[in-house]
Symmetry: C2
Subunit: 271 residues, 2 copies
């Protein structure tokens, strides 16, 4: 707490002209040779919000064209419509002149004091102190740097699935995520962490023993509430794995049990 | 069967230059003064596929800026990346010089013979012959033309909910949809009907007695399989209704029980 965290620094944008921003990508967010998609989404969201008079990215759709590597990222944000309640922007991220990710982001204000008229029943997930801390490939030479950027805790069932010992073949992962304690803990703006949180988990197909590279083709997420500070509970699941494609739906709840983010992506299962 | 249906004619596009298309909107797809969003999505998908070497729109994200009315629609499709497996395009629809809907659509080929590696358990929904045919506001003066464009059948539970007689307050609707028999039945291409099908239902909040105008802010849908001809089973549900916003997730299965489409939208609940 207090001062910028590594996430805050890594997602800082610099104005470079009307609607133009740059960010210097932090190699700590690499998974292999490619930057984590959630990290790029967080930077693109910052650019959209810098251009919008509304404070929250409520609905954001990203198409991933090419992976990003180390170095400077160029982000262009173009306002499509400014409304009283909603402002919609197109945002494109490029490196070395090639477009990598395109997004359309609708910004609005989410009332932090809103009480839901309806919320679906809360899933039955063990508490954080019943979960195992995730330390991927610990003891191995090739620990990906990214695994240190987000603290992850898995339920006992999820833990078994990720170790290939699941009793049944179910592509579902559950547990808790929070900004990395070793990187400085809570981020300046808990809403800025949400795009990273929905895309920081191992691919849900890992629950079936497939740890291969799973490039995201498209990811849409909706912010549904302003999160309370603290760990977020997550539930990730797939409905269909077929023909080299899988969907991954990730829901996040804050410590008060409020659904704060809903995400769904379509990805390729690596070969 | 045989010959073009009204849907096929209504979604026909005419080339008007490189990447440019026009369509003459059919007033039969109006809901009040605004064209149904699924109808516009079907036209924009046709433009994307006309520009792509891949035959299926596998992942499509739409942001709705302004409602469309009667008359000519101008559609511009711009290819962002052509890949061996996926082509991604941006598509914009305009009327009278104003952008109405923007989309990013990734096209690929879905293998019609693919057998899923995994599919989530099939929901328990009554068969079509146990369902009630939906005839909205029949007997009233103001039957919206759109209600005749898609045949809808509701389960007994859904029927009760839509009549305000649900035993519990659950925003979930289930049943079957198919191209309108009175409009000529099955469409030329069953995949072309999917964007209409995911957005043809009453808003899921209607299950709670709210039949008000519910403008969609964003809708993303993924095509997961080539549908068999015939009615599609649907399940629509909301996770959260809060602060004037609601999500609506719609899944569609074909007669063989294969999940063919997954859709989620974020919408405003009308005041």
């Amino acid at each position: 707490m207090g001062g910028m965290t590594r996430f805050d620094s890594a997602t800082a944008i610099t104005a470079a002209g009307p609607g133009s921003y740059t960010a210097d990508l932090d190699a700590g967010y690499l998974i292999g040779d490619a930057m984590n998609g959630g990290y790029l989404m967080a930077i693109m969201q910052a650019a959209a919000l810098a251009e919008s008079s509304h404070p929250h990215a409520v609905s954001s759709a990203f198409h991933f064209l090419r992976p990003a590597g180390e170095g400077r990222l160029h982000v262009e944000a173009t306002t499509l419509k400014t409304g009283r309640r909603v402002t919609t922007l197109q945002v494109a991220a490029a490196q070395h002149g090639a477009q990598l990710v395109v997004a359309t982001i609708s910004c609005a204000e989410v009332d932090a004091a809103a009480v839901p008229d309806y919320q679906a029943p809360f899933p039955s997930i063990p508490t954080l102190d019943q979960c195992y801390r995730y330390e991927p490939r610990s003891g191995q030479d090739s620990v990906p740097a990214f695994s240190e950027r987000v603290d992850q805790f898995y339920t006992p069932t999820t833990w078994e699935r990720l170790r290939g010992r699941g009793a049944e073949r179910v592509p579902e992962l559950a547990g808790y995520v929070q900004p990395s304690e070793r990187d400085g803990g809570a981020t300046e703006d808990p809403c800025g962490f949400l795009p990273l949180a929905v895309d920081a988990l191992p691919p849900v197909v890992a629950a079936l023993g497939s740890w291969r590279w799973s490039p995201t083709v498209e990811l849409t997420w909706h912010m549904r509430a302003v999160p309370e500070p603290g760990p977020l509970m997550f539930l990730a699941r797939a409905e269909v794995i077929s023909d080299g494609w899988f969907d991954e739906t990730v829901d996040l709840w804050d410590g008060k049990g409020t659904l704060v983010a809903q995400s769904r992506q379509l990805a390729r299962s690596g070969r």
